[in-house]
Amino acid sequence: MVRNLLNRTGSLHSRMNSAAIYVPIAIAIGILLPFVVHSGYIVDIIDDMVIWAVLTIGLNVVVGFAGLLDLGYIAFFAIGGYTFGVLGSHFGIGMWISIPLAVVLVLIASVIIGIPTLRLRSDYLAIMTLGFGEIIYLSVNNLNQWTGGPNGLYNMPTPKFFGTNLVQPTQFYWFLLLLLVITVLVVHRLRYSHVGRAWLAIRQDELAARANGVQVVRYKLYAYMCGAFWAGAVGVLFAAKETIVSPTSFQFSQSFYVLSAVIIGGMGSIPGAVIGGFLFVIISESMQGFAQNYSGIIFSTALLIVILVRPKGLWPAALSKRKKTSDAGEHRGLELSHLKKIVEFPGGLNGLSEGPLLNAQNISVRFGGVQALEDVSLSVNVGEIVSIIGPNGAGKTTLLNAISGFIKPQTGHVVFGGKDLTKTSVDYRSRQGLARTFQTPRLLPTLSVQDNIIQAAHRNFRSSVFSVIFGIRKQRREEYTALTESIELMEALGLSEIAGHNPTDQSYGMQRKCEIARCLALHPSIILLDEPAAGMNNSETNELADLLLRIRHLGLTLVLIEHDMSIVRAVSDRVIAMDRGRIIATGDANTVLLDENVVRSYLGN
């Protein structure tokens, strides 16, 4: 009965199996704890553990999911604490009003820091956030008239809850526990949505993420803001519980400790983050008896050991198991032609039924002293399979990169479906329906094969971050559609067996197929394939040729770079031969392959 119910929720099903056991136990322990533990001192430590767990989960979104190194995370915690401190002690504003105000402040701060930095290499963020942390620390230390300087603030009004004063650690415990549960829930929802998959894609391979249509900078900013949000919110509760805010709680070393907790717990793992946060408080509390503070040595050593020996942490983030829908059985033995409804073309653009779909005009690319492409023009009609051949260094991949936006040509235009895309980004072109594979497959090892495919469906998700958090119906439907499509695609391409596996562990042939499945999930109108048969054996190559013809049969257009002439002969409507950055012959396969210039380009004179 319960199983059926879970089954119906589709994507939740497989994760529930393990989570269904641990989560209720953890919540039960959490609720029972204050009835068992009577020492106020211990409950206070438990409060700290919960606070640190929230902080660690928040930073885990930034570092673990999106791969952004934030070294000033504690600054957001400080802004939260001091929002209540300043408003409370100067204006008598209470804790409950301070929480939303603090959240607004940290979100503004994260946007100000994030926007200039997040478009650069991710390590610039590390130093920028380090600076931000120091500036906030400096400010609270020196703005004496507002922050009380080194002494801090302690005249905040006692928070009330329906007339009761909140003073005991146990009273705060309930609110902190609630906050922790909400944090876990929201972060979990985000992680297992298109937002979370986009984050993981960015962390692993920004280029692949762009190729799958992810607006990288925007999603990085979401992650950074999400992290700031939790730190700001819990900062207010922290200040209220401690009844004092002073700069010592917000030193650089504190940022470092949260980061250690994330990495020691396991980057990208929510239970890992909770454990990491708990561990930090337990260890630093057990240091209280010593004359010296050994936490720094212990944590830096532990961090170094974890990075060197067990980089995935104590509780590593796991790949999702193969996910099914309740009616998946009906799809057994699907033919790819049944996927037609998947690749139905989105509005307007692909309403084209004939004529040129892609037009690359007069493309020239120069790398330093090398003219990689010289005035190359290429036009591809709807429903065509065009192969590009040529010796190594002919400029084939460069042309493909110029079309998909990975490099900016010095001259020329790329027109796709009647739109000039020359000045647009990779992810924009991908969202327009221009999909590509890579010469070396760029699959994401942190996602299962199935999640790789679902991630690539990114552009089909219209719902916002908020609809993900609140799990509104439209968002669940989108998730369900992507899931169903991934199952159909895996069935059709023979990937079902490896659905829950790490794609980068698979054979070359399988990886190529994953990449094609990923392209199809994007609902493209054209797919650019860079040497899809490289590394495949004969039977795999034949299978690939068959697959390409079936994909074309769905109404898709294909451009293929290939060295394997058997597949070029088998599938191409038209063959274009390139040499030294120029097109030297074009026509049907037999004409071009026998062309004197083409033969010479391969064999020399």
């Binding site: 600076g131 400096l138 070393s253 470092f256």
Partner: protein, 298 residues
């Protein structure tokens, strides 16, 4: 007054330059922001601080001699520690994602800080300038002999480094690895050795900068590297990461800017200058204010 601040800025900027050179060198080689270097800066300062009393007892007549020996030993020790850092925290995980390497170098930085906190002192310590430190005055500007020594040492080191990178065989190897690691391997250059060496050089520069700055301010604390690390990095970014002359220009420019800023704000707020510069440069010209020329890159 203006001249005085300008001069102070140049002196402190020369130390930023040393740090920025280290950042930019390692960045040029392996695209890593080497946080460990900030820890080695602190280490350098403390080595000199702890050695000075015994050295001054050994050479009671010449304070400058003890200072120079302490400086040399600090640089040497920090350099060796830098090599150790490269072998322990970089080499085993050199193929890991960038974030892992960043975190491991950060862990080393914090480890050095906490070791100093526990083994030496959690409180700030007074750094006595070498005896015979006199100050003289040129056109209304007070210049102490310590300031002159700091400036001269920084400038000598900067030029020595530049000559080494430009003309020495190993220096050319460094440039080769920086411009293209794979081609460097094909040319028979031992890239691991080269990178480890660069870690060492950067660390030695940082250690020496630590001694100079702690003497200039007369104080050392185990957290002294945090703000200065930000400044050194800002200087490197200001001139363009990977660009040696950029680090020099960035270092002096930041030092001067900061000193001039003391006209407008109390001196404890000067880190805001570095941070503001960092934000502005990253927002508007992330490649640095200098046009980058491949010949000067390392």
């Amino acid at each position: 007054m203006l001249l005085q601040e300008l001069f102070n800025g140049i002196v402190i900027g020369s130390s930023y330059t040393l740090l920025a050179l280290g950042f930019t060198l390692v960045w040029g080689m392996i695209r890593l922001i080497n946080f460990a270097q900030i820890g080695l800066y602190t280490l350098g300062a403390y080595v000199a601080l702890l050695l000075m009393p015994s050295l001054e007892r050994l050479f009671p007549t010449s304070g400058w001699l003890s200072f120079l020996i302490a400086l040399l030993l600090s640089g040497l020790l920090a350099g060796l520690a830098g090599v150790a850092v490269a072998l322990i925290a970089w080499w085993p995980i050199r193929h890991a994602p960038v974030i892992s390497i960043l975190v491991s170098s950060l862990a080393v930085f914090l480890m050095i800080e906490s070791l100093i906190e526990v083994l030496v002192s959690p409180l700030p310590m007074v750094v006595k300038p070498p005896i015979q430190n006199q100050s003289f005055s040129i056109i209304g500007t007070h210049i102490s002999s310590l300031q002159m020594v700091i400036l001269v040492i920084s400038v000598i080191l900067t030029f020595a480094l530049y000559e080494f990178i430009k003309y020495a065989k190993t220096g050319r190897a460094i440039r080769a690895v920086a411009s293209n690691t794979n081609s460097a391997v094909v040319l028979g250059i031992n890239t691991t050795f080269t990178v480890v060496l660069v870690f060492g050089i950067a660390a030695a520069l940082a250690g020496i900068a630590g001694v100079l700055v702690s003497n200039a301010y007369g104080v050392a604390s185990f957290t002294m590297g945090e703000i200065i690390g930000l400044k050194g990095f800002t200087a490197a970014v200001l001139g363009g990461m990977g660009n040696l002359w950029g680090a020099v220009v960035g270092g002096f420019a930041l030092g001067i800017l900061e000193s001039l800023a003391t006209f407008f704000m109390p001196s404890q707020w000067t880190p805001v200058v570095a941070f503001a510069v960092l934000i502005l440069v990253l927002a508007f010209r992330p490649t640095g204010i200098l046009p980058s020329r491949s010949a000067d890159r390392a």
